[in-house]
Amino acid sequence: MFKKVLVANRGEIAVRIIRACRELGMDTVAVYSEADRHALHVRYADEAYLLGPAPSRESYLRGDKIIDIARKAGADAIHPGYGFLAERDDFAAACADAGIAFIGPKPSSIAAMGDKAEARATVIKAGVPIVPGTEDVGNLTDDDLLGIAPKIGFPLLIKATAGGGGKGMREVVNIEEMPGLLHSARREAESAFGDGNVYLEKLVTGARHIEIQVMADMHGNVIHLGERECSLQRRHQKLVEESPSPIMDDELRAKMGAVAVKAAQAVDYVNAGTIEFLVDKDRNFYFLEMNTRLQVEHAVTEFITGIDIVAEQLRIARGRQLSYTQDQIRFNGAAIECRINAEDPYNNFIPSTGRITHSLLPTGPGVRVDTGVYPGFEITPYYDPMIAKLIVWGETRAQAILRMRRALEEYRIVGVRTNIPFHQTLMDSTRFMGGQYDTRFVEERFSMDEKEEYRDEHAEIAAMLATLVAHQETERSAQIVRRGERDTSNWKWIGRWERIHR
């Protein structure tokens, strides 16, 4: 196996990867920005090197520096995690040139799937169904796109060809607003990926976002680890993922799994990857894109399959055969993940920064928390607001939901606002419990203050709590006033007042 692995990432995923390396007896090298000297991945790694200033472009996106550090430290592999350099084929290629194993697919696969338009063309050849849209490869002008748009029909989506995570994505309901949206989409894509190319895609309404986890080794073996339901999103950011999907059955899973494997094979894929599909009301599924890297929500699949995906990534990258064949994969129970973000769900989800002063993690049976923060750590505005992933497992989906409610109720993070209340409200919503939701549910049909009867029940308790705290504060300030009086008597003080005001 590898002797030393450099983890080119930060936060919970860097910690996750360091753990896998440690459990496989590999030394770990962390890299960090000036904002992250105290970060958990720096504390846990065997080695740590400063990359540069806080902004990603000057630190975690500096592939050149990272490769230099890997050389200097004698690391024989680099794990990119997700985000940052994970889907940059040039970085993967540079690693190869430097004789360092890139723990992920070949640069050509990243390139093929990284350019969304090319990806669509590639998988179409492989007979994979896709959402109608601009079939041809990118580099289309606004005029081209404005011409094609009516043929595709509205509503439609503008998507960045280099994109991901909703960056550079715009929804268009009519031709009039399209030029402006094209402009802003290109600008956003440019700044996010250094590539302003966009393409068009029909907007499938009432659709679910379901992805298939695939694993492929260098010996041509490709398997899938079932699906993850990712429809619960806000501004194209996933908030909750679960597996199995409430709408899934063995037959559909087998069909989608087979197609996912085909898509991976179409780009000669190696290592862990995820094929995202759109599934419409009639359970027709369409290829959306492939994430050629470890997914944030991989732990959901780890829970129901018992497979350590990151450890398997490391084995594969070392040239090992997959540890499992497709028919050895068993799905056991149900798993749900809630992404805990430092943002205020009562204030339009604006990001919340600050020092974490206190924290209490939910634990116990079937609960897993992957996090990169701890009491005393400062949440800076430089990076993703996701500070933790709370994942639970249950024998059934119902049990998993009950366990998630229990875990969310236990979770305490003080110092920054978090979206935990959002998740608690969601877990209580009948729509979620019924599994009846689509990609628009959170934005269009979900409200933070449902369950009135519940609120009435607790309004009085809230009144008592606020009053008790207010009283305590009053007492405290009163004491301060009293102390003040001892120093200078009111009379002197009043004298001063009079002098001033005469």
Partner: protein, 166 residues
């Protein structure tokens, strides 16, 4: 000490009797109230029920109570503040002379204005001390200070006129 807490559009009369007892409306309740690890996390056991909540202070008397995954905005006023507000809010027509009255019995700490001085709406015209706290009394409107009837150091009764504003 008596407070009026408004939560979910309902007014609750909450009286802090002592460390262990409060009265809500006419119910006497035994409470066990503790801050956890010196954080804005509070544990409340009231008649056996155990609750834990984050309680953050908003502006003025508004508090945010995060309880069982729900946020409850609560406005808390003590009677003094309520009277002060009443006093402050008492609307009045221009020109008409306004008599600033003591909202509660107390000690006149300062009269930071002098007769004939013109004042802005909301300007502090008197500082009254009661319940060991100093309360600024503001002018309800712009005008000129008329007769000042009290001197610093004097104690005054509730509703006693302190000064007038023309």
């Amino acid at each position: 000490m008596k407070y009026i807490a408004t939560s979910e559009d309902r007014e609750f009369q909450v009286e802090i009797i002592d460390e262990k007892h409060i009265r809500v409306g006419d119910r006497l309740l035994e409470v066990n109230f503790e801050s956890v690890s010196g954080q804005p996390v509070y544990s409340l056991i009231v008649d056996g029920r155990s609750y834990e909540a984050f309680v953050y202070q908003g502006e003025d008397n508004n508090w945010q109570v995060l309880l069982r995954g729900r946020l409850f905005p609560v406005a808390v006023e003590d009677e003094r503040e309520k009277r002060l507000r009443a006093a402050g809010n008492s609307t009045l027509a221009e020109g008409e002379e306004f008599h600033l009255k003591a909202p509660m019995p107390g000690l006149v700490v300062a009269i930071p204005v002098s007769e004939g001085q013109s004042v802005e709406k909301g300007q502090v015209v008197a500082v009254l001390e009661s319940m060991k706290m100093q309360n600024e009394l503001k002018s309800p409107r712009a005008g000129t200070i008329g007769r000042i009837r009290v001197k610093p150091g004097e104690s005054v009764e509730q509703k006693q006129t302190l000064l007038s504003i023309q």
